[in-house]
Subunit: 139 residues, 2 copies
């Protein structure tokens, strides 16, 4: 889809990053996925062309640095990343992990109030919520 290409390229342009084939491909993959992906999942979805894992990690790092991407959660020692374009400045939607099947989902419909700082000098900038329980498939 040329649509996605344009959108991905635009996102990189706004962030003032080199628009390389690798970066455009990875942003497209994340746009299509609409959910957090690990390095391995990204590599897989980039197709048969060679995408070195180092390159993927470095691109993720860059995208996180400019705020286009967030680390959503860590599952089985692997970080999972997603585009931040549906998150507010102060928090993303919660993520939910099923304790039965181990799957993780984005719960876009839920939001919690921001925590209030307790006079102790902590300045809270962002809040992440992770939920556990049973997914629809596991009753």
């Amino acid at each position: 889809m040329a649509d996605l290409d344009i959108k991905a390229a635009e996102m990189l342009k706004v962030a003032n990053l080199y628009r390389t084939k690798h970066r455009v491909t990875i942003v497209k993959v994340l746009l299509k996925a609409g959910r957090p992906l690990s390095q391995e999942q990204i590599a897989h979805r980039c197709g048969k062309k060679h995408f070195d894992k180092v390159t993927i990690y470095r691109i993720i790092e860059t995208l996180v640095k400019v705020g286009l991407v967030h680390k959503a959660y860590v599952d089985k020692r692997a970080s999972h990343f997603e585009l931040a374009h549906h998150c507010t400045d102060r928090q993303c939607h919660p993520h939910f992990t099923c304790t039965s099947c181990g799957s993780t989902h984005c719960l876009m419909e839920i939001s919690l109030p921001m925590a209030e700082s307790p006079h102790k000098g902590f300045i809270i900038k962002r809040q992440k919520v992770h939920l556990e329980g049973l997914c629809p498939d596991c009753v």
Copy 2:
């Protein structure tokens, strides 16, 4: 302190676990710390006596399984664990990571309402909140 020894032994007894020297020591370390520790930190606080890391990981696993311990957060690829005795069934206190110095703290004074499940068939059992911002030391 014999106090801690007794408390640790009691906790293991209630959980129906063998009261081994290693387990008692590790539960005592976690009681004293009052905050999440990594395997390496636990090993260090167990003192000069030899505590194999495999043993520590297996004890943590056991303690998590019976609910005495929670994984509080992952920092620099290392899981950090703490006793669950100050947590409710549905959520612990939030943890806070300073984006400047990287330190993580327990915020015992803060609690958020539980998220409500959104008619989508997800059953929410537990909620974890992680906060980011600036700690008192970093203004």
